[in-house]
Structure formats: structure tokens, C-alpha cells
């Protein structure tokens, strides 16, 4: 094993352990914090794979924004401190079966399909900010513009959904 592989495996173990805790913990806010750990480890995995920009986008968007959004959601739905009893539904056994089956199929396919594929890790060229920038604005302009329409739609949607709260505050702090 090369040094990159060892680092990657360690990070992978962290990411997996944190992910397992996210789906099994009985404390809501802790689940969000384990999610941060998992995302952070995945960001480090991206760094090992020389996808520099993607790694820091992952940190900025997921850790700095999406998780805070999730924490807001948890707090606004009044999660208590300490364990909550009814976080899991009745289909846990079925869920375990499906998850194990998915993992089995995917891993088998991957091992059989890519058993002898090696990545050559050098300096990041396509993964650096200028590499990505050049590619987006040369080949990916249309999807990029469509993305802005999607974001606009999402923004309008969220505002409309929270519309009942707009206006003078009734019982919040001001």
C-alpha cells in the first residue's frame, strides 16, 4: 500500500464510522454533528484524490451551510437535549436487509469490474480552481446557466413555503 492509500483508508474508516453513527444515534443534534465529521472526512478524501476545489467546496457548502441549515431545522422542530426514543421506524430489519444487499451487490460489481484499475495521483491539473474554471466556461456553460434558474426556483419556493411567517412577528423575538 502506498502512503496515499493508507491515508485514504484511514479517512474512509472515519467517514464510514461517522455515517453509521448518523443513521443509528438517538440524539438528533449529535446526528448532525456526526454528519459534519463524515463530510469532513469525505472532503479530505477528495483532497487525497487531488480534487482540490471540490474538497473545499464540500467544506464551504456542506459543513458551513447545509449542516447549519439542518441544525436550524432540528432546533426549529424542537429537538430535546438527550436521546429521543422514536427516531427509528418499524421497518428497521427490512432496512438492514436492503442496505446489506445493496452493499453486497455494489461491492461485488466494483471488485469484478475494476479489480485492476489504478489511479495515477500527481499534481492536480483538472482539479485545481483554474482547471475547473476553464472546463466549466468552455464546455459546461449551458448546464451552469440552467443551474442558476434552478436556484432561483428553489429560492422562490422556499420563500413561498415560509410565507405564513412573513409579516409582523407573532411570537418570535424581534
Amino acid at each position: 500500500m502506498t502512503a496515499a492509500e493508507i491515508v485514504f483508508v484511514l479517512l474512509g474508516v472515519v467517514a464510514l464510522a461517522a455515517a453509521v453513527l448518523v443513521v443509528t444515534t438517538r440524539q438528533l443534534v449529535r446526528a448532525a454533528l456526526y454528519l459534519v465529521l463524515s463530510f469532513g472526512a469525505i472532503a479530505a478524501c477528495f483532497l487525497v484524490l487531488t480534487a482540490e476545489l471540490v474538497a473545499w467546496v464540500q467544506v464551504l457548502i456542506y459543513v458551513g451551510a447545509v449542516v447549519v441549515l439542518l441544525l436550524f431545522g432540528i432546533m426549529l422542530t424542537r429537538a430535546p437535549i438527550g436521546p429521543t426514543s422514536d427516531l427509528d421506524s418499524r421497518n428497521r430489519p427490512a432496512a438492514i436487509v436492503v442496505a446489506v444487499a445493496t452493499a453486497g451487490v455494489l461491492v461485488t460489481v466494483l471488485v469484478r469490474g475494476f479489480g485492476d484499475a489504478y489511479v495515477d495521483l500527481g499534481e492536480p491539473s483538472t482539479g485545481s480552481a483554474s482547471g475547473i474554471g476553464a472546463n466549466i466556461f468552455r464546455y459546461w456553460v449551458l448546464p451552469f446557466e440552467i443551474l442558476s434558474v434552478l436556484l432561483l426556483a428553489a429560492l422562490v419556493g422556499a420563500i413561498v413555503l415560509s410565507r405564513t411567517d412573513i409579516g409582523p412577528p407573532k411570537d418570535g423575538d424581534g
Binding site: 438528533l28 439542518l70 426549529l76 422542530t77 427509528d88 452493499a103 483538472t126 466549466i136
Partner: protein, 112 residues
Amino acid sequence: MHVLYPAVLSALLFSIGIYGVLARRNAILVLMSVELMLNAVNLNLVAFDVWLADRLGSGQILTLFVIVIAAAEVGIGLAIVLQVFRNRATISVDSLTELAETAETDSAGDRR
């Protein structure tokens, strides 16, 4: 580096996400599990992009797009969850079985 490391890691993360989506009752935890699955996909995209040394950078740019769409998705999802919580005082996906709001669920779920 062997391509199997990132690929297998991503497959396992994806399975954990599937477990979370199926087994969790709390809507926000379901959203978190969806995020895990999306991250697994991103990892796969990046790994294969680096392996193929794609000149267009398809994998990494698609990853960026996925991250953006995931952020939008989680925002809308949470807005819906908060709205459900306001109307019904619960965000357990099990108890949200009726698609149409009837008179009694309306009065049962009190406003905060």
C-alpha cells in the same frame, strides 16, 4: 492508488444512506441520510474522473453541480418539513400517511 478504495468506500456510504432513509422516522434524519447518499455519489464521480484523467473534468464538475443541487434540495426539503411541523406538530414520516388534509388532522395539529 487503487480505484477500488474510493469506489468501495462510496458503495458502503451509499448503503448506509439507504439504511438511514428506510429506517429513520424523523424527516430531518431522512434528509441527512439522503445527503450521505449524494456524497457517496460525489466520491464515485471524483474517483472515476481522476482515474480516467478526463480532459473535460466531467466528474468533478458534475460533482460541483450535484453539491449545488443537493443544497437547494435540502433547503426546500427542510422548508417543507418546517411547514409540516407547524401544521401537525410532528415530523415523523410514519404519521404523515394522509396526502390530503382532512378536517380532523387540521384541528388535531395545533399551531405553535
